[in-house]
Symmetry: C2
Subunit: 446 residues, 2 copies
């Protein structure tokens, strides 16, 4: 009966069986020391069999006795650091090929292309793996926060017959001889859920045929979405801030050890998250830095950093909410501010200098929505099912969304969003580099 590596510390002087991977091997004369890695952590094993044929990443089953280490050999940085397993029998379950690089060290110091070329291998490194434990915790935190708002979880399709928001960055799919598209976001579907559930959340894929390679964009990403009916602008802002801060708080508490390993602080939430209109933010940036972007239609990346610095200094908050972006700069369904339609009832939640959540109050009037679609040069016929939801009674509503990978990247202060995706897709890569695919351009399905 197998027990986990970290469970051995409760079995001192007993004979146990562990299974896992050889993480590293050190030969000391006639003794072989190796670390066994399983999903719980590491365990030092010592074997007297100097002929033992094992190497890193072999999968083994080890039977042996758990003993205390002498005081001077205790490793305080390891959960099992006060014990070791004296191997009586080592059985090889799966033999590993020779590794292209060492993955037994504390850090995995590889260039990004190598990290991705050997993704099925490099993900095994505990520090790389831990990124995805944080990602799991973000998802769980989001679900809990959404459920606390009484939202229903829904599942919507990713194949669509029209683009979500226009634009050229859209993947085409051959759908039984018809042309169809991969959704750029589940936005339209979640709005259609308002008359059914009033409050919904969903986890979807979002596809963007970004024509360039940047550190922040993926061609396929996981998007978390929330949409709420019968809420007005101020209540939507409350929900935005609640979901954003509670999701991050949950993940950083659950993964506090990992945050420490990545040398990042848990999110600071002061009293209330400060709220500024975009123009007010630009005014503050002008006053505090002298940079005059007061006529610009959006915040620049530098602006987002500076307004975050201001929020931290003045309000002790890693978060700041910016509202009222120009209507023309936002998606067609964003509701213009009735007091000044040039600006919209839109909002971004900025966390440590980067926008992490984005959304708006939506247009809920059918006629107005048709008008805006036409104004933007699109065809209402392409939105017939979406418009159907508005035709038969749609209440005021709004929502927001965020990208799972980008949030994971931000909370751990990673350099490239690809590090926060198990198998990142961009214009050059689907697992392997596209140019290196066998007959990539000519290939047909078998």
């Amino acid at each position: 009966m197998r027990i986990l590596a970290t469970e051995t510390k409760n079995e001192i002087e007993k004979t146990v069986t562990c299974e896992g991977w050889i993480n590293s091997r050190r030969d000391h004369g006639k003794l072989i020391f190796f670390d066994l890695r399983d999903r719980s952590g590491l365990l030092q094993i010592v074997s007297k069999d100097s002929n033992l044929d094992i190497r890193p990443e072999d999968v083994v089953r080890v039977r042996g006795k758990v003993v205390k280490r002498p005081d001077n050999l205790v490793n305080p940085n390891l959960e099992t650091g006060s014990i070791e397993l004296q191997a009586e029998n080592v059985e090889i379950l799966s033999k590993a090929a020779e590794l292209p690089f060492d993955i037994g060290g504390k850090d995995l110091d590889l260039q990004l292309p190598t990290l991705l070329d050997f993704r099925a291998l490099t993900l095994r490194h505990p520090k790389v793996k831990s990124i995805f434990k944080v990602q799991e915790a973000i998802m769980e935190g989001f679900r809990r926060a959404a459920q606390a708002l009484e939202a229903t979880e829904v599942f919507v399709p990713t194949i669509s017959y029209s683009s979500t928001e226009g634009g050229a960055e859209i993947f085409k799919i051959d759908y039984y001889g018809h042309k169809a598209f991969m959704i750029q976001s589940p936005q339209l579907y979640k709005q259609m859920m308002i008359p059914i559930f009033e409050r919904v959340y969903l986890i979807s894929h979002a596809y963007r045929a970004e024509p360039s390679v940047t550190t922040r964009h993926l061609s396929e990403s996981i998007q978390l979405d929330l949409e709420l009916g019968f809420l007005e602008f101020e209540e939507l802002l409350d929900s935005l801030e609640r979901i954003g801060s509670e999701t991050l708080k949950y993940a950083s508490q659950k993964c506090s050890d990992i945050l420490k390993e990545f040398n990042v602080d848990p999110p600071k939430v002061g009293g209330k998250i400060p709220r500024l209109k975009m123009r007010e933010a630009q005014e503050i940036i002008y006053k505090t830095t002298g940079r005059d972007n007061r006529k610009e239609p959006d915040l620049t990346p530098e602006d987002e950093k500076d307004i975050s610095a201001w929020a931290l200094k003045e309000h002790g908050s890693d978060f700041v909410t910016i509202t009222h972006y120009p209507t023309k700069k936002r998606a067609f369904y964003s509701h213009p501010d009735p007091k000044n339609p040039e600006f919209s009832l839109s909002y971004d939640l900025i966390f440590k200098g980067v926008e992490i959540l984005s959304g708006s109050k939506r247009i809920h009037d059918y006629d107005k929505l048709v008008e805006v679609i036409v104004e933007r040069g699109m065809n209402p016929k392409d939105f017939s099912m979406y418009l159907q939801a508005f035709k038969y009674g749609m209440p005021p509503h709004g929502g927001f969304s965020f990208g799972l990978e980008r949030l994971t990247m931000k909370i751990l202060d990673l350099v490239n969003v690809r590090e926060a995706s198990l198998f990142p897709r961009d214009m050059n890569r689907i697992d392997i580099l596209l140019s290196s695919q066998p007959d990539a351009k000519k290939k047909t399905s078998k």
Copy 2:
């Protein structure tokens, strides 16, 4: 301040505000009665304003006093059946167009094409909507059961550079001028996760270009997956049965009212779920029905019904596990039974006459896997990232998966799987019928 329809029963003799949709309207002389529908349920409202211009699906805000109904007018079938709201003010938040059919009745008796043509409207009907509350509960039940097995939730991509399992039923996507594919299942990715997390679960989309229209198939569906490392065949069967029965038990307990409304019984689990090899099942079917399928390579739909009837009669169980399907009939990664390689260490969990979960112990030996890929006429180069995971130490493992829509269909005894998908995709339909799309074949993205 809005309160929900069902919350009014705690506010008798108080003045409250409710918001929702007009579910139905009945005029009685100078009085107008209407039912307000919100996410909590229905509430009867009475108005003395005989000029009130409201019709079904209008969205309204009603202010009024909650009063007890006379005893003889109490409706015991409605949570708010002992009260009504005397409207003082009715404000219209959104006007609905005239409905193409009545959706205010207890059942929504429409043909499937109409149900789907007006999907954004028909989903509002409480009985249609409740299908998706069951679906949400299935998902929650699955997550709880998977987390109880200490599995990590992972997020894998849907765009791939090769097909998952060969076959022609695969959607092609134009990926920056390269040809790529939508995954038929997340199978290969979840196996690649074994050396990282040992136990994983995931919720993914699965794309199958089914060339025919059946009641059981969707072109895009939601797939739930689990994969477990270091478990042997019998332990995998334990997990299969545990996940299957616990998921269904959770959903049917949480949604017991809905099951009653659909006239279906909650799943019966006897003591232990009976386990049969496929050949044993065929033998029992021969003995009990006289139908001789003992040489057939698979169970027919009729066989699955008959063996379920046997399991219910002999073991008091709605579930029965069938193992050892012919190796050739299963996916390439299925592990042959070492005792008789003609049959595989595969399994299906049958529930009330239909297979709901399917899986196998997997081949974990690198050389053997390459050999099988070649034998099946596929190219190992198309599986390079997948094979990488096996090259560097892969333990024994196995898993299973199920389709969310099909399970929802089965638990509610629906006739067509399309009823269990918010927006079903098949060869004829993406929201609207493909033939009725504007310039469907010529359309390009804008």
